[in-house]
């Protein structure tokens, strides 16, 4: 047995005044009487029992001394532990799957909290414990404490999340550094960790010394693993194009823990559940099935909700949220003479609903020119030059025009500029003998080796030079003209591909495209607001729509980037399948029940009561 507060034993000094009290002679009571002879007889009898009277005092003293000793020992906090003096960390898994309902109607998280509370109530509290929750990270609700009430209150603070379980967070918390192996002494100082979890994550065997308590049983559930929407090219109807001709590619992947295939209606709704734009009846097989692909007509930029029309153990994973961003068009200026009409129409063809390009007069990202001396006018980061003329940093010399047509040889057919068009049938009339600058990439030449199409750079500016007279070549009327312009614009501006429209919970977003730290404000679906200044936002921990406001930190004119909506949804398959058959309890025994000190106090109280009872019956004292 060890004493956790041996200093308290000094209170045993109270035995001294206790003993001193019993040295006091009890003052006899004065009693008037007339029958002295009777009293003389009684006193005679009493004189013979002095020894007994002293023994009664001693017995009372003994009992009360035992009471004092018991209380003082209780103050010293005795413990019968045989060496393990480790703190205890109770980790409660509050990942997404813990919100699943159990057969009793409560959630797994409720069951975990109840189990943890039972553990805490049963502990003898000779050592400290702490309470933490774990999903994508470990959050301590109560740090090391021996106050059971405080720990129980901390349990109540644990709320469900939409985040997947991360074993990395547990391992990192418990990891220690150093190359030397841990000795017995160091191992004894490490806290004991008990994780209450439903085990719906892949790698519980990597948790090392963490003891597991399994919560919940497998349950029938269907949920959304991934969801994505992709804006598809419009099936053009020309002037009759409306928002209804917008098309979206719908992708979703479901998982089911049912043993047999289940028919489910999957609803795609715009903005809210009420505005259903597509119903997809699917049959979901057991486990992680095949992804489903659909085309949706009438969907454009905006917010979307994918919802499963099914009752199951975990309703939270039956909805996912996506935001299809509005594409920011490339601002294009046209600098030309009579050809302005054709160039402008080409740009406008990719504008309006497609929102790929937009005509502008100033702050253009790309300048389209034809036969103009581009030393005039505002410089843009990128240029597309038809019918080169004058001086330019994009050629070193410019000879006479070659009036004869010639065979076109595409040297780099895989180049992004020509990947989607076939220039071998285009006649490059009016080509001039041009010398590209060093470092230019020549994409097409004629039989005499004169460059017909090349890409080059001059300082921070890049350009495509199309060495033809578009009027003489009738190129403006060619089907490849807008395709070539579109490809060149995309290559020059390096348009980012459409990213994921539905982000998994726990994702952290880059604040801006430049990758620099900036101030940001993130509004969560529940209305809570979080602010920061960093390169990445806080994790998107809730399913729903977020709003992100951030300083641009990027190229000028990126006003649209300062505010954007984000959709969050989906879960890893393990969190959806709710299958924890492979998890076995591994928690060791915990010291439970009342402490030795509690029993000592009970013994002291009982002794005190017995002594009082015997005293009043004049058996002692």
């Amino acid at each position: 047995m060890t004493l956790l507060a041996p200093g308290m034993l000094w209170w045993l000094a109270l035995l001294v005044p206790l003993a001193a009290l019993y040295l006091l002679k009890v003052r006899p009571r004065r009693q008037h009487t007339t029958a002295w002879f009777l009293w003389d007889l009684a006193l005679e009898e009493r004189r013979s029992s002095v020894l007994l009277r002293r023994l009664r005092d001693a017995l009372s003293l003994l009992l009360m001394a035992l009471v004092v000793v018991a209380v003082v020992l209780a103050l010293a906090r005795p413990s019968f532990s045989t060496g393990e003096q480790r703190d205890l960390i109770l980790l409660v898994d509050n990942s997404a799957s813990m919100s699943a309902n159990t057969a009793s109607g409560h959630s797994r998280l409720d069951e975990a909290r109840r189990t943890a509370a039972k553990i805490l109530r049963g502990l003898d509290m000779t050592h400290r414990a702490s309470v933490a929750s774990v999903a994508d990270g470990v959050r301590f609700r109560v740090h090391l404490s021996d106050n059971r009430r405080e720990l129980l209150e901390g349990l109540e603070d644990i709320t469900p999340t939409d985040l997947p379980m991360s074993t990395d967070a547990v391992r990192e918390l418990l990891a220690s550094g150093g190359a030397e192996p841990e000795g017995a002494e160091e191992a004894a100082k490490r806290p004991r960790v008990i994780l209450l979890t439903d085990g719906c994550f892949a790698d519980h065997h990597t948790l090392g010394d963490v003891e597991l308590i399994r919560i919940g049983e497998p349950a029938a559930n269907i949920g959304i693993v991934t969801f994505d929407l992709f804006p598809l090219p419009v099936a053009s109807n020309g002037a009759n194009d409306t928002a209804d001709t917008h098309r979206l590619g719908l992708y979703f992947h479901l998982a089911s823990s049912h043993d047999t295939p289940v028919d489910v209606d999957v609803l795609l709704c715009r903005n809210s559940r009420d505005d259903v734009i597509k119903v997809c009846p699917v049959t979901v097989g057991p486990g992680l099935g095949q992804p489903e692909l659909f085309t949706v007509t009438g969907g454009g930029p905006g917010r979307y909700v994918l919802a499963l029309d099914v009752d199951d153990a975990l309703p939270e994973d039956n909805r996912a949220f996506a935001v299809v961003p509005r594409r920011r068009p490339v601002r294009i200026a046209v600098r030309s003479g009579v050809e302005t009409f054709f160039l402008a129409r080409c740009v406008e063809a990719f504008g309006s609903d497609l929102a790929d390009m937009q005509l502008t007069r100033n702050r253009a990202e790309v300048v389209l020119s034809c036969g103009q001396d581009i030393s005039d006018g505002e410089e843009a980061p990128a240029e597309i030059i038809f019918r080169p003329s004058g001086t330019s940093p994009f050629w070193t010399s410019l000879g006479e025009a070659d009036a004869s047509a010639d065979v076109t040889r595409v040297v780099l057919s895989e180049h992004p500029a020509v990947r989607y068009c076939d220039l071998s049938n285009v006649t490059f009339s009016g080509a001039r003998r041009i010398e590209p600058p060093p470092g230019a990439v020549v994409i097409a030449t004629n039989a005499r080796g004169v460059p017909l199409l090349y890409r080059c750079s001059a300082g921070d500016r890049s350009a495509y030079v199309v060495n033809l007279d578009p009027v003489a070549s009738e190129f403006f009327l060619s089907a490849w003209f807008p395709v070539l312009v579109h490809s060149m614009v995309n290559d020059l501006t390096g348009r980012p591909l459409v990213g994921r429209t539905c982000l998994p919970p726990g994702t952290r977003m880059a604040v801006n495209a430049a990758g620099r730290a900036a101030a940001w404000t993130l509004t969560a679906p529940d209305g809570s607001v979080r602010k920061g200044q960093s390169t990445m936002t806080a994790p998107l921990s809730q399913r729903g729509f977020y709003r992100l406001h951030a300083d641009a930190g990027a190229a000028a004119g990126s006003a649209a980037r300062q505010q954007r909506s984000l959709g969050v949804g989906g879960s890893p398959p393990a969190e959806v399948l709710l299958n924890n058959d492979g998890l076995a309890d591994s928690a060791g025994a915990l010291r439970r029940g009342s402490t030795p000190g509690q029993w000592l106090l009970i013994a002291a109280v009982l002794l005190a009561c017995v002594e009082a009872g015997l005293y009043h019956r004049r058996k002692l004292g």
């Binding site: 009571r29 209780a74 090391l144 106050n147 059971r148 470092g439």
Partner: protein, 835 residues
């Protein structure tokens, strides 16, 4: 006052006993005193019961627990860390008894440590006894997370972080937010970085990761330095310094320099930038690089013992717009990434004995897994003659080294003398047995073989036996064990006797030993054998072999001497020797090629006017080979084959002036070789595959976007992904679809070196190869600015570590006072009883 539990109050029922006793008390005392004593007794019992309910009182306390995190990583100046430790000591000594503290050293993890122990450790580090593993990182985020483990409830908590603020395990923002969310105050004490002069290349960012031949790609080079000093930046490509740029480095800020790199070589180009500073402490961070994929002309590597022999071929291919790089016999890259820089490999005149097993396996993987092209030309070091029999390279060639022998081929009697001493135990003796068995397989029915093993004594494993009885010979070979000393002479003498009596036109001995033999008249014996028209070749295995002796024996015996440190090459040496000794693999007579195939690579070539070739190596085609040209005797001349994703060609004559002297001047020479190479070069079509890589903790996450020729996303692609580490370990990686035309693949970051990823869409025959190189540890990056969150943390001012620390809510236990009050009541009650 609050209570943890009220359950112990059930024990108040015991008051019934004293109450009943009081009610029927026989004690003759003044009623007031009796009642008071009883009341005090009961009060004491109640107080003890209340104490059992674990009462506590909430109040605020200024008691605090301080966690000191001291960053001792390499980026922190060690003297600054020692000064910080002294400061921590002063802080801890100033704390009174109600406060507590803990100290964690932070590096590549965290260690709870006592100040004295840490001071002693730092002393060792300052003397150059480094704990490189622990100091090689600054895992501040992990340390902040772990600091919460020891924080007690009921005290104000503060973490004081002594660091230079350059974490290597992510940004501090979330870790700091988590601490603050749990009510833990955090303060920072910036520590100085390295005091010694140091410069590092932080990053090299290209303006494009894919370029075309002739294009100039802009490289933004970020260099960091802790001193203002001049330096030189070297732009290195393929081991050659392309440019040197003198620069001025400014301290503690990002120095960004720009330079243009001309893309003159097709394929994956590694561009490195090195900084050479006036003074520098860590050499490991002086270089960084980037890989740029350059599209353009096919790039082919040819390896030949005498590179000048391929000048004409190189010239001819250059006219056909194929870049041919010619290297000597040790010029074959040793790793797969090195091979992947080329679209095809030509092994022209390279014996297999100069290649390691790993190189051979890399070539095989290069062809089968990555679609590379392989061509082998005929020579005395090719096919079986070169020792390629049953090697990984032969597995990806369309012909085999076994052949029908000429009827007039002279018969061969061969004796294998194999060292079986104790030093050969384990892998060497196994490989020696394997080599002997392979030699038996290569013999024709007219040949004979004997095997003698030796240690201290010779052991005749099998007498001179016809090769028709190969089975029994091989069975005897399998019984060779190892053990004993090394006495080679008696075994050689015995072999000599066997050869003397053998009835064969060619009599040859191969001696293998790895040690120093007991002395003997070896040279005399070798001379005697040479005089009797026998030949002796020797193989010295390992560093302990008597090279001088073995060389002398081979020279005198008119054989060949081989020296190898790798037992794995012994089988190749034996097969090469066997084929070479039998002297029948080469046919050197003029012939004209005969076309029998219809492959596109022969289009436009008029073999009717092709000049003579003067020799070739006799081989046999595999069943799957597509024969295109044969000799007049019907032997294979040009064969093609497909192996995995790649193609291979075997041309049994050569492309140099030895056998193709007239072909060098033939008009069709360049065109034919260009067409052959175009037929086999790697055609990795990666169009439509766009891959981005992001680091997530200890994993790398690849996001793959797949589009078709029209730019439309491709769904349900049939992906196969393979990771090949630098050490040759191969892992298959799953690729899963996560969106419309969007896929994801994850793999663990390598601990060192890098890996090559092959990503293939089998249905569309698209292949993309990605390389990952782990740069130098982030700890040595010496970023100019500390983490933004660290820079904004409030500082610990002055010597009071508790300054500005808000009091915390605590629960003060009232158990002790209640118990003592209970005892006091009892004592008072007893007093009242007795007065």
């Amino acid at each position: 006052m609050e209570f943890v539990t009220l359950q112990p109050l059930w024990w108040l029922i015991v008051l019934v006993v004293p109450a009943a006793a009081f009610a029927w008390s026989l004690v003759q005392r003044r009623p007031a005193l009796r009642a008071a004593a009883f009341a005090l007794r009961c009060a004491g019992i109640v107080l003890v019961m209340l104490a059992m309910c674990r009462p506590f009182m909430r109040r605020q306390t200024s008691d605090a627990h301080i966690v000191f995190l001291l960053d001792v990583s390499e980026s922190v100046d060690l003297q600054a860390a020692r000064d910080a430790l002294d400061r921590i000591r002063r802080h801890t000594e100033a704390l009174d008894d109600g406060n507590s503290w803990s100290l964690l050293a932070v590096g590549a993890g965290r260690r709870a440590v006592a100040p004295n122990a840490l001071a002693a450790e730092m002393e060792r580090w300052s003397k150059g006894i480094a704990d490189d593993a622990f100091r090689s990182a600054s895992r501040l985020c992990e340390a902040l997370g772990g600091a919460r483990l020891g924080v007690p409830s009921g005290k104000a908590a503060r973490v004081v972080l002594y660091s230079d603020g350059r974490p290597t395990d992510g940004a501090l923002s979330e870790s700091v937010a988590a601490l603050r969310g749990e009510g833990i105050d955090i303060r920072a004490v910036p520590l100085a970085g390295l005091a010694v002069p140091e410069a590092s290349v932080v990053s090299v960012d290209p303006s494009a990761t894919t370029a075309h031949m002739g294009q100039r790609v802009r490289l933004d080079v970020t260099v960091s330095s802790n001193r203002d000093m001049p330096a030189v930046l070297r732009l290195v490509h393929r081991g050659v310094v392309e440019r040197e740029i003198p620069v001025e480095l400014r301290a503690d800020r990002e120095n960004v320099f720009r330079c243009d790199a001309p893309m003159s070589t097709a394929g994956a180009n590694l561009w490195q930038v090195e900084v050479v500073a006036e003074k520098d402490h860590f050499p490991v961070n002086n270089a960084a690089g980037c890989t740029i994929n350059v599209k353009g002309r096919a790039r082919v590597l040819a390896v030949h013992r005498k590179p000048r022999r391929l000048r004409d071929l190189k010239r001819a291919l250059s006219k056909q717009h194929i870049e041919l790089e010619v290297r000597g016999e040790h010029g074959l890259p040793r790793s797969l990434p090195g091979l992947l820089q080329f679209d095809a490999i030509i092994l022209a005149d390279v014996p297999a004995t100069t290649l390691t097993t790993r190189q051979m396996l890399a070539v095989q993987s290069y062809v089968t897994d990555f679609g590379g092209g392989l061509v082998m030309l005929g020579s005395e070091n090719s096919f079986g003659l070169g020792g390629y029999y049953k090697t990984p390279i032969e597995e990806v060639l369309p012909i085999v080294s076994r052949y029908e022998k000429e009827k007039q081929r002279p018969s061969l009697a061969m004796v294998l003398v194999i060292d079986k001493s104790g030093s050969m135990s384990g892998v060497p003796i196994q490989l020696a047995r394997q080599a002997a068995r392979a030699a038996v397989e290569l013999l024709s029915p007219r040949d004979q073989i004997a095997v003698i093993a030796f240690d201290g004594q010779p052991l005749v494993v099998c007498e001179m036996t016809p090769a028709t009885d190969a089975g029994s010979v091989q069975a005897a070979i399998d019984r060779i064990g190892s053990g004993g000393g090394t006495n080679m002479y008696p075994a050689m003498r015995q072999g000599n006797e066997m050869l003397r009596t053998a009835n064969a036109r060619i009599r040859h001995m191969i001696v293998l030993s790895d040690g120093q033999s007991m002395p003997g008249p070896f040279q005399q014996l070798a001379g005697q054998m040479a005089d009797e028209s026998m030949t002796v070749s020797t193989v010295a295995l390992g560093a302990g072999a008597d090279r001088g002796l073995m060389q002398a024996i081979a020279r005198i015996g008119r054989g060949r001497y081989y020296e190898t440190l790798d037992a794995a090459t012994v089988p190749r040496i034996f097969t090469k020797e066997t084929v070479e000794a039998s002297r029948s693999a080469i046919r050197e007579t003029p012939f004209t090629p005969v076309r029998i195939g219809s492959a596109d690579l022969l289009e436009g070539i008029d073999f009717g006017v092709a000049p003579y070739l003067l020799g070739y190596v006799m081989t046999r085609a595999k069943p799957t080979a597509r024969m295109q040209l044969i000799t007049e005797n019907g032997d294979p001349l040009l064969a093609l084959g497909r192996y995995g994703l790649g193609n291979a060609a075997a041309f049994t004559s050569d492309a140099s002036d030895r056998w193709a002297g007239e072909w060098l001047h033939w008009r069709g020479f360049g065109k034919l070789w260009a067409q052959i190479l175009r037929a086999v070069v790697r055609k990795a079509d990666e169009s439509g595959i766009c891959v981005r890589c992001a680091r997530e903790g200890r994993q790398l996450r690849y996001i793959i976007r797949r589009r078709d020729e029209a730019g439309r996303p491709v769904n349900t692609a049939d992906w196969s992904a393979m990771r090949l580490d630098d050490d040759g370990h191969v892992t298959t990686l799953p690729v899963r679809q996560i969106g419309w035309g969007l896929y994801e693949m994850r793999t663990n970051r390598p601990t060192g070196g890098g890996f090559t990823l092959r990503l293939r869409d089998a249905a569309a025959d698209k292949l993309k190869v990605l390389h990952y190189r782990r740069g130098y540890p982030a700890e040595y990056r010496l970023a100019a600015r500390p983490d933004a969150t660290f820079a904004k943390l409030p500082r610990l001012q002055g010597d009071d570590v508790l300054a500005e620390l808000s009091p915390a809510d605590t629960r003060r236990s009232l158990r002790t006072p209640l118990l003592l009050a209970g005892i006091a009541c009892w004592l008072a009650g007893i007093f009242l009883r007795r007065v």
